[in-house]
Symmetry: C2
Subunit: 101 residues, 2 copies
């Protein structure tokens, strides 16, 4: 039986909020927590949980610091994160192509 | 702020096993349970749970019957299921296009 494209999806990356975090993080050197929160329409708690999952999996780095006197958190995608996102995108491309054919 | 494509994803459809069930169901009139189980590499219990979620959401119909003396379960995608899958595919296409650009 031919391997179905969804069998290649990884839940750590595929979950829609984490997929949002990774795709946005892949677009720049680092992304600020508040920006992600608004872009993905998430609560701070929910975003934190997903960032922790991605960080634990080695896909995202977390950096804490200050912007002026305000505490800030930035995240950046790791090389492993880039590879995992590329694999997810390849599986999604295959899935869409199969659906469209 | 521009709407991010992952905000248009619906967890009922996006979950990878349910996405697999719906895409396979969309390819034919009806699909047998055992076929789905093998194609998606799922246990019977796990497949049953996902089918129940999709059925409860009105996206999948379930039909029970016999093939010879063997009890069989078939599923088929509903019109609402086709619309939900089309919306998911549109969001995935937008996500892949954004990632590739």
């Amino acid at each position: 039986m031919t391997e179905h494209p969804t069998n290649d999806l990884n839940d750590v990356v595929h979950q829609r909020h984490r997929l949002g975090i990774l795709t946005i993080a892949a677009e720049s050197k680092r992304v600020e927590f508040g920006y992600l929160k608004e872009a993905l329409e998430l609560t701070g708690g929910n975003l934190s949980r997903h960032i922790t999952v991605l960080n634990t999996a080695g896909l995202l780095d977390i950096e804490k610091g200050y912007e002026g006197r305000r505490p800030r958190t930035w995240v950046s995608i790791t090389d492993a994160g880039k590879r995992a996102l590329a694999a997810e995108m390849a599986a999604l491309r295959a899935l869409v192509a199969r659906h469209d054919s």
